[in-house]
Point group: C2
Chain length 355, copies 2
């Protein structure tokens, strides 16, 4: 019996999680051996326990085999002290569970080709996987803060930092992902300016020797930001550090025009993982039954594939999502003329029916 911890989070989190739960219930009825618990994270956790990642949640997260998250954050928490803000909860659970490998696919569904702001010929068939290191880099590097410097002036500072083992393990994840796809890996750095990323490049190049079937290239981050716009289909798998990965994976998601469709996985060394949609908590539409639950449902599919190792059940979920799209159902974010606009729960109904 595997344990799944469900973290609805804030904003539209509870609504989209509710639909993913229904999908999970179908799989359980059909024999998937999982038990679920639920806990708050982010703003909801602050409201209940005074901390965005309270001990209650931490204990369950450590015990779980996988975690499914809705989204965190909301304007009502913007004025809280830094350590109490919702996104601190997210950073804390990533670090606490050692979820160093963030996998973010940017896939354009043929039915949603029009949603992209890019020309169809540039993005049709787009299928990129971004592998982002998630527990190191300037996100967690010490020292950091704001102090008065030697010149007597206030100054902010942060530290970018990557140890060899951190680079090595994420490189292995990326090479192995590339092996299962088109065997092309592009490592993104700023080696012409930053020693940390020159070191990154050196280690990735070393690890490449163990994967002679994968073609490794290197690209500067500024050029990568350009090439994603110019010709995104040149990429298969991209691997990069935490901050560059944050920027490039969001850019890549948006190339599809349908970020409401994109799941993500954050894995540790043993394929325990946290799964969440790539989009945010969308406070403006929270509670209105308007959100798109498909990215969360597809995140559940990733959970089933990676942490439960059940490829068949994962594919079953993904096929159900493809079917509802083919049937013309659309939530507001991906609606276009000639399709049928549905609510969040109606989309959930349709996926459950398609299963």
């Amino acid at each position: 019996m595997k344990k799944i911890l469900i973290l609805p989070g804030d904003g539209i989190g509870p609504e989209i999680i509710a639909q993913a739960r229904r999908v999970l219930d179908v799989l359980r009825k059909d024999g998937l051996a999982v038990e679920t618990t639920e806990a708050p994270l982010g703003g909801a956790a602050y409201d209940q326990y005074g901390s965005p990642y309270p001990e209650f949640t931490q204990k369950l997260a450590r015990e779980a085999d996988a975690v499914l998250l809705g989204a965190v954050g909301g304007p009502q928490y913007d004025t809280l002290d830094r350590p109490l803000r919702p996104e601190r909860g997210l950073l804390a659970i990533r670090k606490d569970l050692n979820l160093f490998a963030n996998l973010r696919p940017a896939i354009l569904y043929p039915e949603l080709a029009n949603a992209s702001t890019l020309k169809p010929e540039v993005v049709s068939g787009l299928d990129i996987l971004i592998v982002r290191e998630l527990t190191g880099d300037i996100y967690f590097g010490q020292p950091r803060g704001v102090h008065v410097n030697e010149a007597g002036e206030r100054e902010g500072f942060n530290t970018m930092r990557y140890a060899e083992s951190e680079i090595r393990r994420i490189a292995h994840v990326a090479f192995q992902a590339a092996q299962k796809r088109n065997k092309k890996l592009c490592s993104v750095d700023k080696a012409n300016v930053l020693e940390t990323t020159e070191f990154w490049k050196e280690i990735v190049t070393e690890v490449a020797k163990e994967y002679p079937d994968v073609q490794l290239t290197h690209m500067y981050v500024d050029n990568a930001a350009m090439q994603l716009v110019r010709n995104p289909k040149q990429f298969d798998v991209m691997v990069t550090g935490n901050i560059f990965g944050d920027i490039l994976s969001d850019e890549a998601s948006m190339l599809t025009g349908s970020i409401g469709m994109l799941p993500s996985a954050s894995l540790d060394q043993n394929k325990k993982g946290l799964y969440e949609p790539s989009h945010g908590s969308a406070p403006d539409i929270a509670g209105k039954n308007l959100a798109n639950p498909l990215a969360t449902i597809l995140s559940l599919a990733m959970l089933v594939r990676y942490s439960l190792n059940d490829e068949a059940a994962a594919t079953r979920i993904e096929n159900a999502v493809k079917k509802v799209l083919a049937d013309g159902l659309r939530t507001g974010d991906i609606y276009e003329e000639g399709t049928r606009k549905v609510s969040c729960s109606e989309m959930g109904d349709a996926v459950v029916a398609a299963l």
Copy 2:
């Protein structure tokens, strides 16, 4: 008599600079009071003096009122020691001349609307100005390097750093630029994760009080990378630090699909500046008379406007460029059916004639 230092640089640098020189010669004949000197930078400087920013060049650069640069870099220099590489010359001259304000326009010329990979309705009329801080941040922050850490493991590290005065002065440049445009300024940070940029946001917000006519907004860098793809026309002026500016300005340039058209200026406190095209040294087409000289010619226009304070002459150059585009002349990078493909020097001929 104002002094302009010309740095042809590497790759296509000498070819595109040659065309800009011809434009400058016309202006001089018509009374522009400038004298020019020339010096090497980057790989060319390494070849001649063993350093990418030799004393010879430094002396002339310090004496000049403005500097016009082609481009630096080439594969033959890739194996040099880090301090000897061409881009070190560029970083060194920026720092040495205190060129902290990098202005990078991303403008879509109506004649070149098809060149963009984005849909016409998304980019038509695009006119963004990115103001990038250029002499601080993780580019220059100490400490930096690769060492063996406490755990006995090799580790790369760099330091992001911004002092209050550095943020203040670039904020003023950005607000003043916005005042001359549509009075909207978006400051880009990652304040939810990085103390340095939370401090950045605080200082920019303070400076805003002196510019009540400018509407200031803040955006996280990952969201900015998305919004540039989703709806770039929401932006007027964007201001950000060195590394985020490096990434976002390249992304924004590529939205136009015609980076061969985009100039840039890097200014000090007194409007002394270095002007260069936004594109690179394109070693693959160097020496073939194929390069697009228009970004360099438009960089000269920026030089004339900012450092020589001659708005009329700047506009004259820009109008000449508009005319050759309207006449249907195109270098290979912006060629499409129905236009006339010309070489680098033929494009120069046409601009000189249009002047």
